[in-house]
């Protein structure tokens, strides 16, 4: 596998010179070539978080509901007495750039098995996607391939895709982002872990057979993308089989019922090497592995290939000694391979045999103990200049024409054409399907409770102001969950950035993580896990720093769910939350003026917290009939969407004292912590009192009714038929 004779072996394995020296120190000897390859994948950025770990320590990760936090395969939080939700997000950016269909499909498969590793049954998927502009045929090919891949895998395994987002920017053209999140349910008392324990216990391999696919995938995911390498990298992309994935879910849940399983983990990035090393290291034990017992798809595989293969749909389990047969029988009944491939040993050494030959002998803690790096953080001077751009000379546009263009903008337009390709009603839990602010699933195990889920992130805002982007993602995701009437209880975050060895990216990473950390701390919502994808760069440069945040909320009663669209003629239209808006980083500025500049509004976290509480209380008391958060496109787009979703018009007056002098700032300016509500007139006083008590500002804008959206603002009057708004908003390309 060596690229050329000039390249030292450690470099071919993906290590730096000083890392190789560190390996030699840890071992007290030179590693053999198999061991070196194992270090290469385990010490890759993808597996080891070498550049991100120092920052991730800043995130608040505990709370009264948290049963498992970061460090496990998925976070676990209690959502009802005795019932817990496991959640995790993961990126599959690099594989999707090379092979969008299989890259995205295996991303779904992998995240399902992370949740399964906690003993949870997967009940929901969400996807957060970024591509180049859809006018570009290559970007469209990537997008349609990714959507088809998610659809293929999710539909087949019968886990509903209940939410997501798709946003477009030039910077994602050659490096799309594919983040997939999964939520599973498990009784609180039956949460599993991935710490090997009990010397003498069996190490069991279960699932599909091992082939040569995905070898070195973790290392591949830790490099920048070069367009010329696409063909070469194809072998680093795994091929998923959702049928095997489905069988693995059912068989594993059944195997866990036997009570014989001690611990389990998906064989994902870095395959059996990573699973064996991490499980051993967590339990401070060792393992003996016999590679010749690993079921193989093809002949002639070398030990390195077996050790590094990222073939999909495989789990590694530790099973009580003497009870192996019970577990093997379950898997075989489901038509899967299952073999005892080793055993747990008391001394913390991972010994790998191929037949009688010892091919590797390594301490698991060395494999999982990659060094971390701190890179000098530096804001690039042009970024500050961009943020401080004076936008006051921006030409004003005719509002109705601007609105229609914004509604058609690919990032704003309804994604119905996408989510109808995903089965979102399977498992009979979906109370609010995709298309609203957050999806709602009922908890069959704890009626009438439900959970709400939303995934959000704005790379453009993060690019201009990383802190505002990180905090803003938390605010938007939690606000969406609150809009449907839930209280956010946990988040998981996916960070997607460029090459962290550059000071500029280090600065972005620090800012984004600080933003998330500050917001989560202020809102008392823990981060129970996450994913970091770095080196998202191509020849065209780095992607915008793109945090995506998945918020999980809890509803006491799904009967109190609040829809996003207007519901009834005569209801009062109210804007609640912050008054602060900016055109900086807005969709209006990008889509209609072709500029990415200005200073986005930084969230007021104390206000945001009060707003979340007020919304949950108002929903619980039935005071609001609809609720929709303001995001891309600002107030006027939110109004148009509420009209389009509800099939009802509205007549609104925006008073200049609150909305300033620039009409476009009032109409299209963006800022966090803003919600558009409709309130039955008879409940308005009660609602206003509730908001006053919570110190949440509200503005009465007008009334729901008719078949047009009519707006007046300081002498400016305009209106548009709801049908026309709806047609524009549904013009998915």
């Amino acid at each position: 596998m060596r690229a050329s004779t000039q390249v030292p072996e450690w470099e071919a394995a993906g290590l730096r010179r000083e890392e190789y020296q560190r390996v030699c120190e840890l071992l007290g000897r030179q590693p053999n070539s198999t061991e070196l390859r194992m270090f290469g994948v385990m010490w890759s950025e993808h597996c080891a978080y070498k550049h991100s770990r120092p920052y991730l320590r800043r995130l608040p990760t505990s709370g009264p509901r948290v049963l498992r936090g970061p460090g496990d395969n998925a976070g676990v939080v209690e959502v009802a007495p005795g019932l817990a939700a496991a959640l995790k997000v993961e990126s599959h950016n690099h594989p999707s750039a090379v092979d969008p269909f299989h890259g995205a499909a295996t991303g779904v498969g992998g995240i399902l098995r992370d949740v399964l590793s906690m003993g949870a049954r997967p009940v929901a998927l969400l996807d957060s996607l970024r591509f180049g502009p859809p006018e570009d045929p290559e970007s469209r090919r990537l997008r349609d391939g990714v959507v088809a891949g998610i659809s293929h895998y999710g539909n087949s395994v019968g886990v509903p895709v209940v939410g997501g987002e798709i946003l477009y920017e030039d910077c994602y053209r050659a490096n799309p982002l594919v983040n997939v999140a999964c939520v599973g349910l498990v009784p609180s008392s039956r949460v599993f872990g991935a710490a090997a324990a009990g010397p003498g216990n069996a190490v069991v391999y279960a699932g599909a057979r091992t082939g040569r696919d995905g070898i070195g995938g973790a290392a591949f995911a830790s490099e920048e993308l070069a367009s010329s390498s696409a063909e070469l990298d194809r072998k680093a992309v795994q091929i998923g089989d959702p049928f095997a994935g489905k069988l693995l879910i059912e068989a594993t849940l059944e195997a866990l019922q036997t009570g014989a399983v001690v611990a389990l983990q998906d064989m994902g990035a870095a395959g059996i090497t990573c699973a064996a090393a991490e499980m051993s290291a967590r339990g401070k034990v060792g393992m003996v592995l016999h590679l010749e017992r690993v079921p193989r798809r093809e002949g002639g595989m070398t030990p390195v290939e077996v050790l590094l293969s990222e073939s999909q749909e495989r789990m590694l389990l530790v099973v009580q000694r003497g009870r192996e047969e019970e577990v093997l029988r379950v898997y075989r009944r489901w038509g899967l391979r299952a073999e005892v491939v080793g055993e747990v040993t008391p001394e913390p050494v991972l010994r790998v045999y191929e037949g009688d030959r010892l091919v590797a002998e390594l301490p698991p803690e060395a494999l999982t103990g990659a060094p971390t790096y701190r890179v000098r953080e530096e804001e690039p001077p042009n970024r500050r200049a961009l943020r401080e751009t004076d936008l006051s000379d921006l030409p004003q546009l005719e509002p109705v024409a601007a609105l229609l263009r914004l509604l058609r903008s690919p990032s704003v337009v309804s994604k119905r054409a996408v989510y109808t390709q995903y089965d979102h009603t399977v498992q009979v839990r979906t109370v609010v399907p995709p298309g609203g602010d957050a999806a709602v699933l009922r908890l069959l195990e704890a009626p009438p409770r439900g959970i709400a889920l939303s995934v959000d992130g704005n790379g453009r805002v993060s690019y201009l102001d990383p802190w505002a982007g990180g905090a803003g993602a938390v605010c938007e995701a939690t606000l969406n969950v609150a809009c449907v009437g839930a209280r956010p209880v946990a988040v998981t975050d996916g960070l997607n950035l460029g090459n962290p060895e550059r000071p500029e990216v280090a600065w972005e990473l620090a800012g984004v993580v600080d933003g998330i950390a500050d917001a989560c701390r202020a809102l008392e919502v823990p981060v129970v896990g996450g994913n970091v994808s770095l080196y998202n760069e191509s020849e065209a440069g780095a992607v915008y720093p793109t945090p995506v945040v998945v918020a999980l909320g809890v509803l006491d009663d799904v009967a109190h769910v609040v829809p996003a669209g207007f519901q009834a003629e005569g209801d009062l239209v109210v804007l609640a939350g912050s008054d602060r808006v900016s055109l900086g980083g807005s969709e209006y500025l990008r889509a209609l003026h072709g500029r990415v500049a200005g200073a986005p509004v930084r969230p007021d976290l104390a206000l945001h917290r009060r707003l979340l509480e007020a919304l949950a209380a108002a929903a619980q008391e039935g005071l609001v009939r609809s609720s929709h958060d303001l995001s891309e496109g600002g107030l006027l787009v939110a109004l148009a969407e509420a009209c389009a979703m509800g099939g009802l018009g509205a007549r609104c007056t925006l008073s200049p004292e609150f909305f300033g002098t620039r009409a476009d700032l009032a109409l299209f300016g963006e800022g966090p912590s803003r919600v558009l509500l409709s309130v039955p007139p008879g409940r308005y006083e009660e609602f206003a009192e509730l908001c006053a008590r919570a110190h949440v500002p509200i503005r009465l804008l007008g009334r729901v009714g008719g078949d047009r959206l009519h707006v007046s603002l300081a002498g400016l009057e305009f209106s548009a038929p709801v049908e026309e708004l709806k047609a524009a908003w549904e013009a998915y390309r």
Partner: protein, 266 residues
């Protein structure tokens, strides 16, 4: 009510819900039958060869055997489907939903095939259906011509058959559900997958086998956005009660009843 035959779910017809490797609506069906309706309901493993303990066997949705070859093709050769043929011949009720409908066609229990959707993409949406026959064990509680709403979720739902088969089906009144708009019209936009004659659900001539693409189990509780599916299962209960009241001649009597007005071709 009490007959001494109740299973874990209480009184009512005994349902068996088949689990093929790759089935993914089996648990949903069991939820509705057992917990919403209280019928005695069991999972039936795909290797089972004895279905004699059941009044109704449900083939649920999903991707049986990964839908390799063709949707439902491998499942149609499984032991449980061999048993299902005997079960159906003896007058037992068989309900195939989505992938289960595909299995029934592949097994030859209903005529025709389901091809890739007209626009070649998977489609998950609510659709309107017109109930064409209310004299079947599955539809007695609907009104003739009633328009109902149910979710679909499939990539291969375009019902297709040679024109002479379609003519036979129409003449014999075997079309049970048709895709329509909210006003009950068979306009092209109301056909989500390009099915011939807007066919969403079919019965066999005897009426004891029904296959349909929409998912009644996903619309049997108001919280999920609709309850129109519930009456399909309750119709089965009604049929079962009448049948039991009728005594030992059960299956034949029931089927004769269904056969009235049905062609004599088979």
């Amino acid at each position: 009510m009490s007959t001494g035959q109740e299973g874990p779910g209480g009184g009512g017809p005994r349902f068996g819900v088949v689990v093929f490797p790759g089935s993914n609506c089996d648990r949903d069906c069991v939820h509705v039958l057992r917990h919403v309706l209280g019928y005695p309901t069991e999972f039936v493993w795909h290797e089972e060869e004895d279905l004699s303990g059941f009044d109704v066997v449900v083939l649920p949705g999903g991707f049986s055997y990964g839908d390799y070859l063709r949707p439902g093709a491998v499942a149609a050769t499984s032991p449980v489907v061999r048993a299902l043929r005997r079960f159906a011949r003896a007058g037992g009720l068989v309900l195939g939903i989505c992938n289960g409908f595909q299995v029934l066609l592949e097994a030859g229990l209903l005529p025709g095939v389901l091809l890739r959707n007209r626009d070649a993409t998977f489609r998950c949406a609510w659709v309107h259906l017109r109930v064409e026959r209310t004299d079947t064990p599955f539809t007695a509680l609907y009104a003739p011509g009633e328009v109902v709403r149910m979710p679909i979720a499939h990539g291969d739902g375009r019902y297709t058959a040679p024109w002479e088969v379609l003519e036979d089906l129409e003449r014999a009144g075997q079309v049970v559900f048709r895709y329509v708009d909210r006003d009950g019209r068979t306009v092209p936009e109301a056909n989500p997958n390009g099915s011939c004659h807007h066919i969403a659900g079919l019965k066999n001539p005897q009426g004891n086998v029904l296959g349909l693409m929409p998912h009644p189990e996903r619309c049997s509780e108001a919280v999920l956005g609709g309850e129109d599916g519930l009456r399909l299962f309750q119709s089965v209960e009604l049929w079962w009660r009448r049948d039991r009241a009728a005594g030992p001649e059960r299956a034949h009597r029931a089927l004769d009843l269904q056969d009235s007005g049905v062609g004599r071709r088979r």
